[in-house]
């Protein structure tokens, strides 16, 4: 099972900030540290989730894996081969291995193309198949695979004639055209009706089983991440702060940020849905140009103590069972949490004991 297919080591992407003339003269350079030295390993056949708020660098990570952006620093290894910087034929080979499903199915397909054009494009670019006829046979097969049938009806349609779910199926079909090993799915269901989300995810999982795919599932939605992924990495301001088996990360959350994220999830359960939640976090996400010293989460952390900003940034350490966390106080917080739960529980009991007598 755990045969690594994609290994990222200190992967970094810094974007230069546009400067005006005085800044150029003074020699000031500021950078947006979109992805800041992250390391992870994705195993063959697994679904690896990347979660975090908007602007935390998860999409940038996806694009680095896709080689849509140049890697600033660090290394990327694909199937044991270095894939940090690729050119020409090597890049072409890499592109056939790694494909991407984009967030917005409304703009990820050229509005002028028919579904046939969309699906033929990868084959044409990589010169797969002898002629258009042979390519079309393959296109029909894939359409069947993503349950867009009858193919004849869908082949001639333009994207605007498809529903959101159908579009995402077509987009998925496009990624499958070149039989890749890894598919980066950047929020594939966030713009789709809730009713069809499960269907799409189910289809993706089925495809994964049939074709032995590996997914990198990028999302801000913890509930689908829990449902869909095998392993999960939580990102905050360009850094992975917690990583592990999905169940473990969600159920036995260690990092205060992850806790806040989970607390923020809406639960459509009566009695809970209308309650304004007391999310255990303060302030706003800082700008990625000016990352706080020490632990980058400390200005928003309710448990931050002096050492959190005085000392070096905590490293992502394995605390056992493949669960990694980058917080130096996780154990203390765990204890505090347990204590709070107990006190809350006792408070709850008291309340309930009050109720009938009143």
């Amino acid at each position: 099972m755990s045969e690594p297919i994609l290994v990222a080591e200190n992967l970094t992407k810094w974007f230069p900030v546009k400067r005006n003339l005085t800044q150029v003269m003074k020699g000031n350079r500021t950078w947006v540290r979109a992805v800041d030295r992250i390391s992870f390993t994705i195993n063959k056949g697994e679904i690896f989730g990347l979660v975090g708020e908007s602007g935390c660098g998860k999409t940038t990570t996806g694009k680095l894996i896709m080689k849509l952006l140049e890697i600033t620093d660090g290394t990327l290894e694909m199937k044991g081969e270095n894939a940090t910087h690729l050119r020409g034929a090597a890049l072409e080979k890499y592109r056939r291995e790694v494909q991407m499903i984009f967030q917005d199915p409304y703009s990820s397909m050229n509005p002028r193309f028919t579904v046939r054009d969309v699906l033929m494009e990868p084959l044409e670019i990589h010169k797969v198949g002898k002629d258009a006829k042979e390519r079309e046979v393959w296109v029909r097969e894939i359409l069947d695979e993503v349950k867009l049938s009858p193919p004849d009806e869908f082949l001639v349609r333009h994207p605007h004639m498809l529903s959101g779910g159908q579009r995402q199926r077509a987009a998925t079909a496009r990624t499958l055209m070149l039989s890749p090993s890894i598919i980066v799915a950047d929020e594939p269901v966030s713009m789709i009706d809730l009713s069809t989300r499960a269907e799409i995810l189910h289809m993706m999982r089925q495809l994964q089983r049939e074709m032995g795919l590996t997914y990198v599932y990028i999302t801000h939605d913890l509930s689908t991440a829990r449902y869909f992924t095998d392993r999960l990495a939580v990102m905050y301001l360009g850094k992975i702060i917690e990583m592990g088996v999905a169940g473990s990360v969600i159920d036995r959350t260690l990092h205060p940020y992850t806790k806040a994220l989970i607390a923020a999830v809406c639960e459509p359960v009566s009695g809970k849905v209308n309650r304004i939640k007391d999310v255990p976090i303060k302030g706003e996400i800082p700008a990625a140009t000016n990352i706080p010293p020490g632990c980058r989460f400390h200005p928003r952390c309710l448990y931050a103590v002096e050492e959190c900003w005085q000392e070096e940034e905590p490293t992502l350490d394995d605390i056992g069972g493949g669960h990694l966390v980058a917080c130096r106080r996780w154990a203390e917080i765990e204890r505090l949490g347990a204590a709070a739960r107990t006190s809350e529980a006792s408070l709850g009991t008291r309340k309930s004991s009050f109720a009938p007598s009143a």
């Binding site: 080689k67 849509l68 967030q103 917005d104 397909m109 050229n110 990868p122 990589h126 258009a132």
Partner: protein, 466 residues
């Protein structure tokens, strides 16, 4: 790939057929093309295109004649132009030489006399000739002259120019003496006298027209054996002529307008096509690559867009011989900036779309992204832009003609309009000289606008009304 493109065109055509104004535009374009193709068949002066400024080519035409169909709307009809060829020249011995005789009948049944009647004789050598204009009422006027010279040439006897004394004398036989005293041979209208009843008032052109068959009897005495009369022809320059009348240089405007169609199509299509293709590719490239390339291309664009075209064209015309091809080339060099700004901004917008990123992720080359994803989206805009710059190019050519820098060897609508304006056609009420070329330019513009908008509707699926 080729085959598929073809089928794409076919499906485009089947959609195009459903758009009414598109079909109107196409019909108009087809009409223009047909007009260009059958040009020699529908114009009375097929050499109009090459001999537009050759005065001798137009010499037999009336000046400022109205279009022939004006007669349908007026109570007093103008005599239309006509040509009567003698099919029978009788020759006989006459001393040392020969006597040639011919009769040319002209049937007259209008209210307003023609502007001139000219007898053209093609003679060789020395000849003494006599032309007798016999009216339907039996009265006649005679003109005699001797022409000496070698070789074959045309002799012309114009009633308006040569028969003034004879007709003044003729009128004197029945006209009021007081009227005769107040006028002279050079102030009368000889044509009005010739085609009026022989009664008082004819000199002041107040008398009734004399309808019937007029005959011109020609007698030519050839002095020696080498001399002869080869041809005799009566040319009636009417008050109305042809489809669109004539201008003040006696040129047939219908022939000119048709000859101009070809040049309008060539100037408009060639200039706008080259300019828009260059502009679109330039704009897309600039927008797509961005960064340093974009900045550099923008500076070049700004240089071209801020250089005024007219002074450059004046200098170029001074350096080169004014030619329509150089003019088209110059217009292309400066017209391509037209669509650049818009295309660049559209390209900036398109390149951010995630399907461009998706294509890059699939490994598409920049060329492929530009050609397959970006430029096709700009086709509707390019067509609209072309449609807009077609009349622009035609009008520009006209303005260059206006300042005398046009290609004097071609007939263009602009040149016709320019001649009309410079000779005050509007003030003189010669509407048939101004309106047709103007309407033609507008019609040509409309043609391309219609086709452009129809293409827009097809190529932009979101605009489709399903």
């Amino acid at each position: 790939m080729k085959k598929r493109d073809f089928s794409q065109l076919r499906s485009m055509w089947s959609e195009f057929r459903r758009i009414k104004f598109g079909m109107v535009g196409l019909a108009l374009l087809g009409m223009f093309v047909v007009v260009v193709l059958i040009e020699p068949l529908i114009v009375p002066f097929p050499d109009a295109a090459t001999r537009w400024r050759d005065m001798t080519y137009w010499v037999d035409n009336p000046r400022n004649a109205k279009p022939a169909w004006v007669n349908w709307f007026t109570s007093k009809d103008y005599a239309p132009s006509a040509r009567i060829q003698s099919d029978n020249i009788v020759s006989g011995e006459f001393g040392a030489g020969k006597l040639y005789q011919a009769e040319l009948p002209y049937k007259y049944s209008w209210d307003k006399a023609p502007s001139d009647v000219t007898l053209r004789m093609n003679v060789t050598g020395n000849a003494r000739y006599e032309a007798e204009f016999i009216r339907p009422d039996g009265l006649s006027v005679t003109y005699q002259k001797t022409s000496q010279g070698a070789g074959t040439r045309d002799l012309r006897i114009s009633v308006a120019q040569n028969l003034q004394p004879q007709l003044y004398q003729f009128a004197g036989k029945y006209e009021d003496p007081r009227v005769m005293q107040s006028t002279s041979a050079s102030t009368i209208n000889p044509l009005a006298v010739l085609f009026s009843q022989a009664e008082k008032g004819a000199l002041l052109s107040g008398s009734k027209p004399l309808d019937g068959t007029y005959t011109v009897r020609v007698k030519v005495v050839a002095a020696d054996a080498t001399s002869s009369l080869n041809e005799a022809e009566l040319i009636v320059a009417g008050g109305v002529q042809g489809v669109l009348g004539t201008d003040n240089m006696k040129r047939d405007l219908w022939s000119g307008l048709i000859a101009g169609t070809k040049w309008a199509l060539i100037i408009g299509l060639l200039t706008s096509f080259i300019a828009v293709v260059v502009g679109v590719i330039y704009g897309v490239t600039s927008g797509y690559y961005g960064g340093f390339v974009d900045s550099l291309m923008n500076r070049i664009y700004e240089i071209f867009s801020s250089v005024p075209l007219l002074p450059i064209l004046i200098v170029m015309s001074a350096v080169f011989k004014p030619s329509i091809w150089i003019m088209i080339a110059m217009m292309c060099i400066f017209f391509w900036v037209g669509p650049v700004r818009t295309v660049r901004s559209i390209a900036l917008q398109i390149k951010e779309a995630s399907y461009i990123e998706a294509a890059r992720g699939l490994g598409a080359s920049n060329r492929r992204i530009l050609m397959r994803h970006m430029i096709p989206q700009l086709v509707p805009y390019a067509f609209a832009s072309m449609a807009l710059s077609v009349p622009g190019a035609i009008v520009y050519e006209a303005s260059i003609s206006l300042i005398g820098l046009g290609d004097a060897t071609r007939v263009t609508w602009g040149q016709i309009l320019q001649a009309a304006f410079s000779s005050g056609a509007v003030l003189q009420g010669i509407w048939w000289w101004v309106v047709p070329p103007g309407v033609a330019i507008a019609l040509m513009g409309m043609t391309f606008a219609f086709i452009g908008f129809a293409m827009d509707t097809i190529l932009n699926p979101k605009l489709k009304t399903r």
